[in-house]
């Protein structure tokens, strides 16, 4: 089954708006990472999280290990935020398990 479930699968945003992406885990995740894959296919690491929150510019992410979920908030969306966002969870030192991604399209 899906050990890392992402929602929504796709999201259309207008420039300047805010939104949230979510991952639910069915494994005992100890750390979470969020990535953005640009249209050329490159995967860029956005956040590495232990339980808690982090913020970087217009992006903010939270990881709650007890409730087994993580969120990524996009504030004041810009065109360059378009791409596919992946969350990935690790438990017990095993390799990261990736979600199926959320494709975000930001329009003017």
């Amino acid at each position: 089954g899906d050990k890392v479930k992402q929602s929504p699968s796709a999201l259309s945003l207008q420039e300047g708006t805010n939104s949230a992406l979510r991952c639910n885990f069915s494994i005992a995740a100890t750390t979470v990472q969020w990535f953005l894959q640009n249209p050329r296919g490159s995967l860029m690491n956005l956040f590495y999280l232990v339980p808690g929150t982090k913020e970087n510019g217009r992006l903010k992410s939270a990881f709650d290990s007890k409730e087994s979920y993580s969120t990524l908030h996009i504030r004041d969306a810009q065109l360059e935020d378009s791409g596919t966002y992946f969350c990935a969870a690790e438990g017990g030192g095993r390799a990261l398990i990736f979600g199926t991604g959320t494709t975000v399209s930001v329009s003017p």
Partner: protein, 114 residues
């Protein structure tokens, strides 16, 4: 720091041929991961090395796929007798010490098996 380097960027093989994909991790990183990405299956874990030793190959197809890390500066993924279903983007990532550290991905090798 050039990041994780993968070569070639694109590879086209005929069915039944062998394909070797190369990955050079970030200097100083001791962990190397291989993933495969397709539209249908998404990002699938294949195998993971730490300090050149295989740690977890649970995602590797049992036949035809093998991976090695002969030294700290490169890893190879070899696919023997390639099949059309092996067509995918193969992604290599490295981290300082393992999956409990930030992963940095290369640009990937797009393998097309005709």
């Amino acid at each position: 720091n050039a990041g994780v380097i993968q070569t070639p960027r694109h590879k086209v093989t005929g069915k039944g041929q062998e394909a070797t994909l190369w990955c050079e991790p970030i200097s100083g990183h001791s962990a190397v991961f291989w993933y495969r990405q397709t539209i249908v299956q998404g990002l699938e874990f294949l195998t993971y090395f730490r300090n050149q030793a295989p740690i977890d190959d649970s995602g590797m197809p049992k036949e035809r796929f093998s991976a090695q890390m002969p030294n700290q500066s490169h890893s190879t993924l070899k696919i023997q007798s390639t099949q059309p279903q092996d067509s995918a983007v193969y992604l290599c990532a490295s981290s300082l010490a393992g999956s409990q550290n930030t992963l940095y991905f290369g640009a990937g090798t797009r393998l097309s098996v005709l």
